[in-house]
């Protein structure tokens, strides 16, 4: 896949080398000529550097935005990330636009209004990770997919959980929820319907964005009283 990255800072460079290592074609756009020149010399296979302002339609066009499968805007400026996202979606129809949110106060702006399919905010990510670390026996939302139409949630089962000791197929999960993984004693188990859930299991569940399904899942995995 062709992935364009706006912003050649540490975030952009790290993403580029990881993605290139997994076989993707990467182009990084940066407006600092010095950075582009030095980085181009230390060539990484699969990564091309493009000098220019990513907020400029012409620069995006010559970087290949029209062919890009994914566009990620990870500069340190939220306003730049917004402009780049809007241009990528509006002018080049990039199927998947991902933007970095630097200041969590700006998060509300990073929506499809501005062409953003997925907004990634480090503080928000950290918060959910902390929540996940401290909350045993509660439902933690890990990731929102398809603009909120699906959520990946995590529940660490306790002895209070009605699901402990029952098969997944018999644990009264809502119809539109799927247990996609169970982490037991540090091992990832791909669950079969016959897997019996145990106390201490971390269950990763994919379900629709509806609150009814989330409530039903909470009742099934956490228990009523929570």
């Amino acid at each position: 896949m062709l992935v364009l990255i706006a912003g050649g800072g540490s975030v952009g460079r790290h993403m580029a080398s990881r993605l290139a290592a997994s076989g993707h074609q990467i182009r990084i756009i940066d407006n600092d000529l010095k950075v582009v020149e030095t980085r181009s010399k230390q060539a990484v296979f699969g990564v091309t550097w493009v000098f220019g302002d990513a907020c400029d339609v012409g620069v995006l066009d010559s970087a290949g935005a029209r062919e890009a499968d994914v566009f990620t805007s990870v500069t340190g400026d939220d306003e730049d990330n917004l402009v780049v996202s809007l241009l990528a979606k509006q002018e080049f129809g990039v199927p998947r636009v991902i933007a970095r949110v630097n200041n969590p106060r700006n998060e509300w702006l990073f929506t499809e209004m501005w062409g953003v399919d997925i907004a990634v905010s480090t503080p928000q990510l950290l918060t959910s990770l902390v929540e996940e670390a401290v909350s045993v026996g509660a439902l933690v939302r890990l990731l929102s997919l398809e603009r909120g139409r699906a959520n990946l949630v995590e529940v660490t089962l306790t002895t209070d959980s009605p699901a402990v000791g029952t098969r997944i197929s018999e644990s009264h999960l809502p119809r539109e929820a799927a247990v996609v993984a169970v982490i037991r004693a540090g091992h990832v188990i791909v669950p079969s319907p016959d897997l019996v859930l145990l106390d201490g299991d971390e269950t990763i569940v994919l379900l629709t964005g509806s609150t009814e399904d989330e409530d039903a899942l909470r009742i099934a995995l956490v228990g009523e009283e929570h």
């Binding site: 979606k89 509006q90 129809g93 499809e112 209004m113």
Partner: protein, 109 residues
């Protein structure tokens, strides 16, 4: 087309209306290309998108339909049902056919 040029051309619709640019039949549109399509407005819908108003206008040229979506507004003067409209922008394929986000537009007779 640069953003500035578009803003300029948006402010002088008369000049554009004088010269009838060639329009591509919607069924021939290639995804993610910059095109002009011309059709009759068959549907106007104000849809809230992430809490902000947005206007979706569907045009039909006999070969297929396409939808222009303008964000931040509920109506555009002159954009009424049955009116012929030119839409210029990047065709983005969606589940509902081609969509144009904040495209350049020209009202036709």
């Amino acid at each position: 087309m640069g953003l500035l040029n578009r803003i300029r051309s948006n402010t002088t619709p008369q000049q554009l209306a004088d010269q009838e640019p060639e329009a591509t039949p919607i069924s021939d549109v290639v995804a993610r290309s910059q095109v002009t399509v011309r059709g009759t407005i068959t549907r106007i819908k104000a849809i809230p998108k992430s809490g902000m108003p947005s206007l979706a206008v569907t045009i039909d040229d006999g070969t297929a339909t396409a939808t222009a979506i303008w964000s931040g507004r509920r109506a555009i003067g002159g954009v009424t049902l049955g009116r012929r409209l030119d839409v210029t922008g990047t065709a983005v394929s969606s589940a509902r056919g081609f969509e144009f986000y904040n495209p350049l537009y020209t009202l036709r007779e």
